[in-house]
Amino acid sequence: MTRHIISVLVENEAGALSRIAGLFSARGYNIESLTVAPTEDASLSRMTVVTSGSEDVIEQITKQLNKLVDVVKVVDLSEAEHIERELMLIKVRAGQKDREDMKRMADIFRGRIIDVSDNTYTIELTGDGRKLDAFIQALDQAAIIETVRTGTSGIGRGNRVLRI
């Protein structure tokens, strides 16, 4: 079982997302996260699916994705050098006495405080999943009020591109 990041270019059609999500559930493939948004070409959406499985399963996943009529291209990013990023917004308790500490912690992880109230900070943090996990671990668990994460997006390094 290894983790794979699969990028999919799909026609920006109604129902394309449900076809892909449906494929994963119908065939019992894991989805760790799934993100989707249109690309610079409005007729195409790009999806990033983080999944895990044996080599055989991953091979089937890419073949089955390619088989969907709406799918234009599929690339397993994890086969070569790539970059992955995820965005997290996290709301934490930040009363008078721990405001400084919280600020310092955000700085260490290169997070930005994007909203402030009397007793809370909302911090924005990007990085790969492990970095976001590490930040959550580093905080006093009682201080965390709410978290929201986008799921992973990925792109190939250098000249490796996915486009039509």
Partner: protein
């Protein structure tokens, strides 16, 4: 073809015009509120003929049978909500066997979608996992192109059913009609030619093989590659098997044909599948009912060449050494070209071994029985129809016996639901077969349980004068269920006895057909002869058969391909 250029047509007119442009002869359907405009347009013309079934499941199976038995495409038309849900079994049946089919469904008006309107259902959502692709047309301007896409997608690549959901207001709205001659989709480009390097590797393996075996499935039938397959197998002199979906691709009466593989396959075929050193798989998918337990199958090393149009069928259950993705006839043409210059090894020893296996005569049964043996009926059916009938079947023991005992020499003659295993398929499929092949002999082999699942279509058969011969193997049990209960559930026949059966003769007569009851072995052949002589009538033959008969050989679920139960073991 004439074009109505520049003229505004309603969506309903466009639907019918598209069908005409596609050369559709028959639409199998059932009307309802959401498709009334379309039915109104069908009424006003006579190019596309509508066949009124009695249940939407029948419409889908009939369209499916029409496709399977011809090189044409079956079309069905149903209304929204229950019309669609009734058709789903038929759509899923076609999907599992990769049968091309276009399904047109009515939908509530666009403004009502999502509001739980009367007879609304999420058709695209419900059918998504059992179609090759589906569309919801929200704008009449997209209608013609979408229908064109549906026909294109259904018939190219790995075929399958494609559904177009059309809201009622779209069928009333108007726009200019233009039917595109061709269509190109950037996201969909099925391959044709196989990879030349891979084909060379295959040639090498085939010429060096000491114990070769050719194993082919439904893909050979669907891609019309039977002539190339036959040429290839004869050229090489190799043994050959066709799966339940592939029967008729290689002549069933030929010596090189070893019989069907798998759960109820022949002893010689299953042994050869396991012990071969090179396996050439063509348009087949190594499914659970064919190779049994994949771990057991892997115990014997062999090189596998796999030709298929669908890359996802390759190395799905069994790892393959030489994958060749491509259109089967194209790949076989290329293979043949190269093989004609090669000399395969002498495989006499292998044939000797195979003949020893064949000598076991694994399909033998008691020919002296005083009760009608189902196998006997099928042998006689083969004789009486001179092996040249179209045979549809339902699902159960009768299906397996038909596959074992009716020797199909031609493709598209054996019509059954192999993938989904849908009881109720046989009769409506036979209607489609008869429509596609007027004048041909069509037999529906069924059981007293299966036939009751789409029995209402007897009425459709009457209306359209379809002279189908129904061969009902009446063992008063859901025989296949009973067999499993006997073998694996301690003879506890839980709910598999068919009580309160109707008098099938009277029932057939009630629908305006002829019925015949056959109770003695000696009457089997005369009854069949009489029935098939009645070329203008549907005849329902009710054969009272041995309740205790089982299908042999049998590989129990989860067991290896050679772990067969044979009749002699018991």
């Amino acid at each position: 073809m004439d074009r109505v250029k520049g003229k505004s047509l309603t969506g309903a007119e466009i639907v019918v015009r598209c069908l005409q442009e596609e050369g559709v002869e028959y639409v199998f359907g059932y009307p309802g509120g959401a498709v009334l405009f379309i039915y109104d347009e069908l009424f006003k013309q006579d190019k596309v003929r509508h066949v009124l079934v009695r249940h939407e499941q029948g419409a889908a199976h009939a369209a499916d049978g029409y496709s399977r038995s011809s090189n044409k495409i079956g079309v069905c038309l149903v209304t929204s909500g229950p019309g669609v849900t009734n058709a789903v079994t038929g759509i899923a049946t076609a999907y599992m066997d990769s049968i091309p089919m276009v399904v047109l469904t009515g939908q509530v008006p666009t403004h009502a979608i999502g509001l739980d309107a009367f007879q609304e259902c999420d058709t695209v959502g419900i059918t998504r996992p059992c179609v090759k692709h589906n569309f919801l047309v929200k704008d009449v301007k997209d209608l013609a192109t979408t229908i064109k896409k549906a026909f294109y997608l259904a018939t190219t690549g790995r075929p399958g059913p494609v559904l177009v959901d059309i809201p009622k207001d779209v069928t009333a709205a108007t726009c200019e009609f233009h039917y595109p001659g061709t269509i190109a989709l950037r996201s969909y480009n099925p391959v044709k030619k196989g990879h030349a390097g891979q084909i060379k590797k295959a040639v090498q393996l085939l010429t060096e093989a000491e114990r070769p075996m050719v194993y082919t499935g439904g893909g050979v039938i669907l891609s019309n590659a039977a002539p190339q397959l036959t040429e290839l197998v004869r050229l090489l002199g190799f043994p050959c098997t066709n799966t339940l979906m592939g029967l008729g691709a290689y002549p069933g009466t030929d010596r090189q044909f070893l019989g069907m593989p798998g759960m109820h396959g022949t002893y010689q075929t299953n042994m050869a599948m396991q012990h071969c050193d090179v396996l050439l798989a063509i348009g087949a998918r190594f499914d659970d009912r064919v190779i049994g337990n994949p771990a057991h199958f892997a115990q014997n090393p062999r090189k596998i060449i796999h030709i298929d149009i669908d890359p996802s069928s390759i190395s799905k259950r069994v790892k393959v050494d030489v994958p060749i993705v491509g259109n089967i006839p194209d790949v076989l043409d290329d293979l043949l070209k190269l093989l004609k210059n090669e000399k395969p090894r002498d495989i006499k020893a292998w044939w000797k071994q195979i003949e020893e296996w064949r000598a076991k005569d694994c399909l033998k049964y008691d020919r002296k029985s005083k009760i009608i043996k189902p196998q006997f009926v099928l042998e006689k059916l083969y004789e009486v129809t001179k092996g040249d009938a179209f045979v549809t079947s339902d699902v159960g023991q009768h299906q397996m016996w038909a596959a074992q005992f009716y020797k199909f020499d031609k493709p598209r003659r054996w019509i059954n639901s192999g993938g989904l295993g849908t009881m109720g398929f046989g009769l409506p499929a036979a209607m489609g077969v008869q429509m596609a092949n007027p004048g041909a002999t069509v037999a529906c082999v069924t059981g007293e349980s299966s036939i009751q699942m789409c029995l209402q279509e007897l009425s459709t058969c009457k209306q359209y004068r379809l002279p189908i011969k129904i061969v009902n193997l009446n063992n008063k049990y859901m025989g296949m269920v009973r067999q499993w209960q006997q073998f694996f559930h301690g003879n506890r026949y839980s709910e598999s006895y068919m009580d309160a059966l109707p008098d099938f003769v009277k029932l057939a007569e009630g629908y305006g057909h002829r019925g015949m009851l056959v109770e003695k072995p000696g009457d089997v052949e005369p009854a069949l002869r009489e029935a098939f002589a009645r070329t203008n009538e549907l005849v329902f033959l009710d054969f009272i058969t041995d309740q205790a008969e089982n299908v042999y050989p049998m590989i129990p679920g989860g067991k290896g391909i050679t772990e067969m139960i044979l009749s002699e073991d018991l």
